[in-house]
């Protein structure tokens, strides 16, 4: 579809959204006059989502740009399988658009979006249906070849050979942690979410999440200067 055609269709769709009684996405706020005059690039995630609820596709495109990297990275760290990441990642952004009317302002958008992402990842794991294995060059993801190997990442992080090996061991061990401990480390450390936000996303009490963070890191700590004994233990609790 040409972009000119797309623009026309988009405008037509916006008109239809305004006139139809039950369109998708539909407005849920009676008034968003406070959004007027705010440049779209400066709008908060939450305001962009409200614009999306009003049928503004540009607003959603901007949200996609802001979050595609963190959502895909989260999935890769949790699932480990890039083929699954590609298919689930697309589903996340389609569902978030489809279910935009269910978002309630001023809930933090990152919390809402990661809840969707997490649920899809869990459902996928339960089904245990793997996407077909493909060559890395066929995947529509960027950075897999560069950031997928612990030793490569560690090598870029430091020139200290001993420290490099420790970092690589810790990253390898992260993969084998029990899912609940890995999740709190991925969300809290890699995605930089607070315990309160993780509580909202996972439905687990913050104190439990703190405990998982402690015990997860304790297992990773056994990898430092280790000879692989801890590695076996971490792997054994998968």
């Amino acid at each position: 579809m040409s972009s000119g055609w797309r623009v026309v269709m988009q405008r037509n769709m916006e008109k239809q959204v305004r006139s139809k009684p039950n369109p998708k996405p539909k407005p849920v706020e009676p008034e968003i006059s406070d959004l007027k005059g705010v440049p779209i690039g400066r709008a908060s995630d939450e305001d962009l989502m409200r614009r999306t609820q009003q049928g503004d596709r540009n607003a959603y495109s901007l949200l996609y740009e802001r979050y595609s990297g963190s959502v895909l990275s989260y999935l890769y760290r949790m699932l480990g399988n890039v083929e699954d990441v590609e298919s689930i990642g697309q589903e996340v952004f389609l569902r978030a658009f489809r279910f935009a009317p269910t978002y309630r302002y001023p809930q933090k958008l990152s919390t809402w979006l990661f809840t969707i992402t997490r649920n899809l990842a869990i459902n996928h794991s339960r089904r245990r249906k793997r996407s077909p294995v493909r060559n890395i060059t066929e995947l529509n993801l960027e950075g897999v070849d560069m950031n997928g190997d612990p030793l490569d990442v560690a090598t870029r992080a430091t020139d200290d050979v001993e420290k490099r090996e420790e970092i690589a061991r810790v990253l390898k061990a992260l993969v084998d942690l029990p899912m609940d401990q890995k999740e709190v480390i991925v969300l809290g450390i890699f995605q930089d979410l607070s315990y309160a936000e993780m509580e909202d996303i996972t439905g687990t009490k913050a104190v439990t999440l703190r405990s998982r963070m402690f015990h997860g890191l304790k297992k990773l700590a056994r990898m430092i200067g280790g000879d692989g004994e801890g590695e076996a233990e971490a792997g054994g609790r998968k």
């Binding site: 623009v7 769709m13 690039g41 400066r42 709008a43 697309q90 529509n140 970092i167 690589a168």
Partner: protein, 324 residues
Amino acid sequence: MTESDIESDAFLKLLTEAMRAGPGSPEWRQAVERVRASGASGEEYQLLLTAREHLESGKEYRSIGAGPDFTRKVMEGLDADANASSRPGFDTTRVVAGLGGMLVVGVIVLVAMLWWKSSDATNRQDLAALYFPTTTSLSTFDSFTPDGWRKIGMLPVIVKRGLRPQSAPASAGEVAGGGIVSAVALPTSVASAVEVTLDASAVSEDVAAQIFLTDQPQFSEDRATSDHELVWLAKGTDVRVITPDGKVVSPAQTLPASAGIVVRFVVNKTHIIVSSNNTTLYTGPHQLDPARPHLVGIRFLIKPGVEPVSPAITSVRFLGLGEK
């Protein structure tokens, strides 16, 4: 350690907060001090903190982004979804209306472009009135430099939640410069726009962040500058626009301490509109050679020995009038 231990022990609460927030955070500093003060009994906690430091060093692990085809598939999916929800079946009338609308828009755009080309005197007003519906290219700087850019200058830059400068190398003179420049030139035959989004939460008087448009492909090694360029410059909180003849042509503007600031260049063969933070700073001739390719770049200039505190460039979007 149980959950009730965490609830009752302020130190464990601090420690778990430090583990999450990571090195550099206030909680981290407090936790490290407490662990050090506890001597040998704190060895186990010290190992935990070291493991956390290693995770910080390896934070790029499995950091990935969407490729162009991934984005295209998502956008096509959204199109299909929106169409399915608003149009239950194939509607010939709507398709014809859409085609008619497209034709009308095409004619309007064509007439507008012809009119614009015929009158150089009205170039500025035309530029200001143009609407750019098509994103021809988008580069986001989350964790790595995307394709389509090449590095310039001696000052190293990194991509970590935005493109940022690093400290000046020891061999630097009074000022060191470095950055990136687009591999593909802006079209000079038709109008186009560039939107650079930056996070100005942290700035420093000793570091300048620049967005520039140049007609010269060669850059100096020490400062990463070219001989002929139009520059949007932020030094500390002061914003300026400088034309290729070296004149400061914009009124003073203060850079707000926030993320999501958009610097916009709207440009055609002869003229440019530069705006930042939704305020027009300069409208007029860009003075660049219309026969040469116009390249967009980002550059940082820093004095040796100072902290590289600077606005971070989070994305660059190239916009066009029509087809990709």
